[in-house]
């Protein structure tokens, strides 16, 4: 095993521990997000985004890392829009997403294993149909485009706006949460 794969394994272990400790290996806890009883998914996800956003911003600002070395997923507008819509339906049906399904399966939940099987079938089927899907799959390609570039704002200003929006959302959610 190469060093890079060893790092992948260690990062994955940390990822799995955090998801399980947050309770995100449990389908019933995750779907609370969609029925207003438990906004754990949103809280974990947006605290993580804020931490990474602020961490990478300041590491770059202090000259400790070069953000150009971070791989930013490219934008394919329509496939990502449609992919998101389809994914959302699957998320409510399954109660778990791909990463959390693995944590569920690893903590004994057979429904997590079933979701993993479904993922393999879904991705595999789309792969087999790739010749037909390819025109759509590669459509509306914009390359690497970020929110600061889209809105023509400095990176730091967008970081601040996202932080402000997330903090506001945390307060609003706390008000609407109705534990079952």
């Amino acid at each position: 095993m190469s060093a890079s794969l060893g790092i992948a394994l260690l990062i994955g272990i940390a990822f799995g521990v955090v998801l399980e400790q947050a309770g995100l290996g449990r389908a019933r806890k995750l779907v609370g997000q969609f029925y207003g009883t438990d906004f754990c998914v949103f809280k974990v996800m947006f605290s993580a985004i804020l931490t990474t956003l602020l961490g990478s911003f300041w590491l770059a600002r202090l000259g400790l890392v070069d953000l150009a070395g971070f791989y930013v997923p490219e934008t394919f507008l329509l496939p990502q829009l449609v992919g998101g819509l389809v994914f959302g339906i699957g998320f409510v049906l399954a109660g778990l997403c791909p990463g959390t399904a693995c944590v569920a399966a690893a903590s004994g939940r057979l429904d997590g294993l079933a979701v993993m099987g479904g993922l393999l079938v879904g991705i595999g089927s789309c792969g087999l149909l790739f010749d037909r899907l390819q025109p759509f799959y590669t459509s509306t390609a914009y390359g690497t485009v970020t929110l600061p570039r889209l809105f023509d704002l400095p990176y730091g200003v967008v970081v601040l706006l996202v932080v402000a929006m997330a903090l506001l959302a945390f307060r609003v959610l706390a008000r609407f949460e109705r534990p079952a």
């Binding site: 990478s56 990502q80 998101g84 994914f87 998320f91 409510v92 789309c126």
Partner: protein, 168 residues
């Protein structure tokens, strides 16, 4: 006794630090669905190696060694080890089928497979899932990742009332 779950905001900060470490150490973020794509490509290659390498979607997962040397496969293997160990150490490991109070086990597993298949199709089109796009791409402010994240939550909130019987 089973231990209580961590504070979600603290867990989120920890998750953000893991993601940041991944960027700094590997230049890439977290992911999950990519490992399933890699597995699907290897399954296809086991059935028909020539057809799989001729398939332009599978071919890229079969290049540079395929499943056995894919970064995301090792990362997801780590997720399984870490998630399992964490559940065991916190006395939360339990063999069961998590389901809504009105749903029996058989239908629950069918819906889980169907949901997984839809998420697989969505993640394939979007080039990533909640980990690779929403979380990782979202933290790097990628426009496509934010479009994916907003679309997935919008559609989940739209269908959730229709699927209430599954969970409530």
């Amino acid at each position: 006794m089973q231990r209580a779950y961590a504070n979600p905001y603290l867990a989120g900060v920890a998750l953000g630090l893991v993601l940041l470490a991944s960027f700094v150490l590997s230049g890439r973020g977290l992911g999950a669905s990519g490992a399933f794509a890699s597995a699907a490509a290897s399954v296809a290659a086991a059935f028909d190696a020539n057809a799989a390498t001729a398939n332009r979607y599978f071919a890229r997962y079969l290049a540079d060694g395929g499943f056995g040397s894919d970064w995301l496969v090792y990362e997801l293997l780590g997720v399984v080890i870490g998630g399992g160990a964490s559940a065991l150490l916190s006395a939360r490991w339990r063999a069961e089928i998590e389901r809504g109070p009105q749903l029996s086990s058989g239908p629950r597993l069918l819906f889980a497979v169907a949901g997984g298949a839809l998420m697989g199709a969505g993640a394939m089109l979007a080039r990533g899932c909640t980990s690779g796009q929403a979380l990782t791409g979202g933290a790097l402010l990628s426009v496509g990742s934010w479009v994916f994240m907003l679309a997935l939550f919008a559609s989940a909130y739209l269908v959730a009332p229709l699927l209430r019987g599954l969970w409530r």
